[in-house]
């Protein structure tokens, strides 16, 4: 049955997904007003990207872990450990920056194998395994670093999170390259969307009305271009933003369009049914934790590059921010539901709130309270939404 849906349907059909975008827009508007526009200034937007990129990277892995019905409390410690290993290799032993990166990534994979082994093959709940991991890897970080901070990193290493692509195409007072890349991205997005729409029509699937389709595409294009405009008027395109965008795209595809991704959702939705459908649950769990270790290493590299040092106490409480991002982004506490882009929006909501409150000069204690309340309300909304949908059945 081919048909078109109107705006109201589009919004109500999936309140869980659309609700998060509405909340995001609301929070941006709110803090733009409260900060007198400072939130969206070129310099601050650039800062926002740099300051929260590692949380967003962690959130990508965390949402997959949560969809499978697990949790990972160790990522903060793993961020510290992998950053520490990179520092020892690069700063301590004077090896090239890329050896440090590879050593950090390798450490992340080893951590993942370790935790995956206990979860998948011994059957210990991930909560316990990663709680132990949180202590173990924090301790190992201190030993690796000999309990002191190591700094500074060589310039190439710092470039990973502090670098900008700037001036490639020139531009007077702004970076033309950033604008060009954003424009290209928008065109690719529009073509992709349009081809998807055609394919859906071919398979006689309902699509939104053509006017609505172009309206949606135009809004996305406008937001992306405005964002790029602001970045272009600051320092240009942050390297870490490219990294982040690539990860979001890759993991979006992995979670939605590969068998591995589908198995994660199947396990979270009904573990027993998944097992009886031939899902090799142990292997999926193992891969999930290896992947989380790897992404923690990426976050560890970005964080150490940004702070230009490796500290024994680095990454403290990162796990809680990543978990909160996944839940605010619509992941279900019971597993089986959650999306990568949802977690990214969830992480951005946290980032905008923290950043906005910092600009307003609100003290740390109040910030903590507000963030806690927002997390609670987000999950309460999820629970309420679930009740609503079951009573409608």
């Amino acid at each position: 049955m081919a048909g078109t849906s109107n705006i109201k349907e589009l919004l109500t059909r999936n309140l869980r997904q659309s609700g998060i975008y509405i909340a995001f827009v609301f929070i941006i508007v709110l803090f733009t007003i409260l900060t007198g526009g400072a939130l969206l200034s070129p310099g601050n937007l650039t800062n926002l990207v740099l300051q929260y990129s590692y949380i967003l990277i962690l959130a990508i892995g965390m949402v997959l872990i949560i969809v499978a019905g697990h949790i990972d409390l160790s990522v903060g410690s793993v961020v510290a450990l992998t950053g520490g290993v990179a520092a020892v290799v690069v700063i301590g032993n004077g090896l090239p920056w890329w050896v440090g990166v590879l050593a950090a990534l390798g450490t992340g994979v080893l951590v993942g194998l370790w935790q995956g082994f206990w979860v998948a093959y011994v059957g210990i709940p991930a909560f316990i395994v990663t709680l132990a991991g949180m202590l173990i890897f924090r301790g190992l970080t201190m030993q690796v670093l000999g309990n002191v901070s190591l700094s500074p990193f060589p310039e190439q290493y710092q470039y990973i999170s502090g670098g900008f692509l700037n001036g490639l195409f020139g531009g007077d007072g702004y970076d033309a390259f950033t604008l060009f890349l954003a424009a290209a991205l928008v065109v690719v997005f529009a073509i992709q969307q349009y081809r998807g729409r055609l394919a859906k029509l071919k398979y006689k699937q309902p699509v939104e009305a053509l006017v609505l389709f172009w309206l949606k595409t135009a809004v996305v294009a406008l937001v992306v271009m405005a964002f790029a405009w602001q970045l272009a008027h600051s320092r240009g395109l942050p390297v870490v933003l490219i990294l982040l965008a690539a990860l979001v795209l890759i993991y979006g595809f992995i979670s939605q369009r590969t068998i591995f991704g589908r198995h994660i959702y199947a396990m979270g939705g009904n573990l027993q049914a998944a097992q009886l459908s031939g899902v090799k649950t142990r292997r999926v769990n193992m891969l999930l934790f290896v992947n989380m270790g790897l992404l923690s290493a990426v976050a560890g590299i970005v964080y150490s590059a940004r702070s230009n040092s490796a500290q024994p106490g680095a990454g403290n409480m990162f796990e809680l921010d990543a978990i909160a991002a996944a839940f605010i982004g619509g992941a279900a506490v019971t597993g089986g539901i959650g999306k990568v882009h949802g977690a990214i929006i969830g992480g951005l909501i946290m980032a905008v709130m923290s950043n906005g409150m910092q600009i307003m000069g609100i003290d740390q204690s109040t910030q903590s309270v507000v963030r806690g309340v927002v997390l609670l309300l987000a999950v309460a909304f999820d629970v309420w939404n679930k009740k609503r949908s079951t009573s409608a059945a």
Binding site: M1, A199, K200, K202, Y203, K204, Q205, P206, F253, Q256, R257, T258, I259, R262, H263, Y265, A266, G269, N270, Q272, A273, A274, Q275, L276, S277, G278, K280, A332, G336, I337, S389, T390, A393
Partner: protein, 513 residues
């Protein structure tokens, strides 16, 4: 004249779409052991839920008189206050607490607001002596076998000053010695004045212990049989109960099939399965069976006979432990130690419990349909979402799944449509052998007919099919050949044309010598 302790009159209980009980009456005399017999789904458990207040007063029609007074319980606490205690088939004990703690759970022995362990354990020991449980009161319940746990439940009932004890299949999970002990205990309680109602499938047991038996079929009372007859008449009792349980006509519910029966597809020999946590309990004991192309083979067995355990152990060792025996596909031995190996070998298993084992209820129809054969919609690592939708649409129209779109959440479909989604999922794996475990449980009559038609079409397409069912008319209406299963053993093999419900029920209730 004996006094009636319980009179239930004209009880009618409706669930959405189903009438579970129509106009059922039950009269129990004071101080007797009263058995209730009926097929699975006949309404026995529902009747007991009405009596004990699990189904609260007002949700059913009819009246209940207890000790000569009309009563209307709206919760289990109210019925327990009157001395009516129900012991469910799944025991409600806490494994990590001691025997004494379990006996007094919710009824703690306190002194000044503090639990008095001395009194708890001492009183527990008295009660345990009464039920013949020779254990230390501080032993954890989880360390006891099922038989002894059953005794703990009864001891717990005694603390509530029980006068009417209801036991739902008390011996289903017990070995012969434990069953014997339990039945002796129930007799002993009768002599102390406790009336018991026993729901059981084991007719030999009932003949030995019951004073009266009420037979229920399809939500209606058939008859109440006085079991206190002279010894030479005893042998007529069990056939009479069986006739009452099954005496229903097979109507034209079953569509005709024109399948050609071909080569043998699947065979197992000397199949043994042990209980996953009780290593001394054999769930399947030396089973052997085969099924050919185009053939529908029925497995008839009552609850607890080992039907599901047999099927799931075959399907990639997904239940039980220490599984031994040989399985053959197309005449060649195959090893299926994991579910994916079983799927690759060409076997599909449709579980009796679709919500727990068959479906991802929070996902859409499309995702569920492709979930067991994802590689078929995947090319170069990417799942083709549109192709998935096309596949799901194909099954939606061929199996007549009633839904506006295949993107609808499976949890919101009716039972019959959910069952069709599970069937679609397994048909998409293109199996040679389909094992259908209670394929029409919780499905309305219209959808039942459709599912029977699908089964016939599959057989006509040359698939081998095993149907497990506890509804005898269903097995007889569908199968070419029927195996009967009782306490883990295959007790008979009957060709469809030779099968009568009486004959099958006899084989299904055959107890171990």
């Amino acid at each position: 004249m004996t006094e009636h302790i319980l009179v239930m009159r004209s009880i009618t209980k409706r669930f959405p779409g189903v009438i579970a009980l129509k106009d059922v009456s039950l009269t129990v005399d004071d101080g007797e052991i009263h058995a209730i017999c009926g097929e699975n789904g006949a309404g026995k458990s529902t009747l007991m839920k009405v009596l004990s207040g699990v189904e609260p007063a007002g949700s059913y029609e009819g009246e209940i008189h207890y000790r000569g007074r009309p009563v209307s319980f709206s919760s289990i606490n109210e019925s327990e206050a009157e001395g009516i205690v129900i012991i469910h088939q799944e025991l409600a004990l806490v494994p990590h607490l001691s025997i004494a703690e379990n006996i007094f759970l919710g009824n703690e022995q306190t002194r000044g607001g503090v639990i008095s362990w001395h009194e708890t354990n001492a009183r527990a020991a008295e009660l345990m002596a009464r039920v013949g449980l020779d254990e230390n009161p501080v032993t954890l319940v989880g360390q006891l076998g099922v038989g002894k746990q059953q005794l703990v439940e009864i001891a717990k009932a005694l603390t509530k000053n029980v006068s009417l004890l209801i036991l739902d299949e008390p011996t289903a999970a017990l070995n012969d010695d434990d069953s014997e002990h339990l039945l002796g205990l129930i007799r002993g309680l009768r002599d102390e004045g406790v009336t018991s109602i026993i729901i059981s499938h084991k007719l030999g047991e009932i003949a030995a212990v019951a004073d009266a038996t009420t037979v229920i079929r399809d939500g209606s009372t058939i008859e109440t049989i006085d079991m206190r007859v002279p010894d030479d008449e005893k042998s007529t009792l069990v056939p009479r109960i069986i006739k009452g349980m099954v005496g229903r006509d097979i109507d034209s519910l079953y569509p005709e099939r024109h399948a050609e029966i071909g080569e043998e597809i699947f065979r197992i020999e000397d199949w043994h399965v042990t209980h996953p946590t009780q290593p001394d309990r054999l769930l399947v004991d030396g089973a052997a069976l085969n099924v050919r192309a185009g053939e529908v083979v029925g497995i008839a067995g009552l609850m607890g006979a080992g039907r599901t355990e047999l099927a799931m152990s075959v399907f990639g060792h997904s239940y039980g432990r220490d599984i031994t025996g040989t399985a053959y596909m197309h005449g060649k031995p195959v090893l299926m130690r994991t579910v994916s190996e079983a799927i690759d070998a060409g076997i599909a298993y449709v579980s009796e419990d679709r919500k727990q084992f068959g479906l991802n209820l929070i996902q859409d129809i499309r995702t569920n349909v492709t979930s067991a054969a994802l590689s078929k919609v995947t090319s170069r690592g990417w799942i083709d979402g549109n192709e998935e939708i096309a596949v799901a649409e194909r099954y939606r129209s061929s199996l007549n799944i009633k839904t506006p779109t295949v993107m609808a959440q499976v949890g919101k479909l009716s039972g019959g449509n959910q069952q069709k989604v599970v069937l679609s999922k397994w048909l998409y794996t293109e199996p040679d052998l389909l094992i259908l475990d209670e394929p029409t449980r919780g499905v309305d009559v219209g959808a039942k007919f459709e599912i029977y038609s699908i089964i016939n079409e599959l057989a006509e397409a040359g698939k081998a099919i095993i149907v497990i069912s506890s509804e005898l008319p269903e097995v007889m209406g569908l199968a070419d050949r029927i195996y009967t299963l009782s306490t883990g053993r295959i007790t008979g093999e009957v060709a469809a044309q030779d099968a009568t419900q009486e004959r099958l029920m006899e084989l299904m209730t055959m107890e171990r010598e």
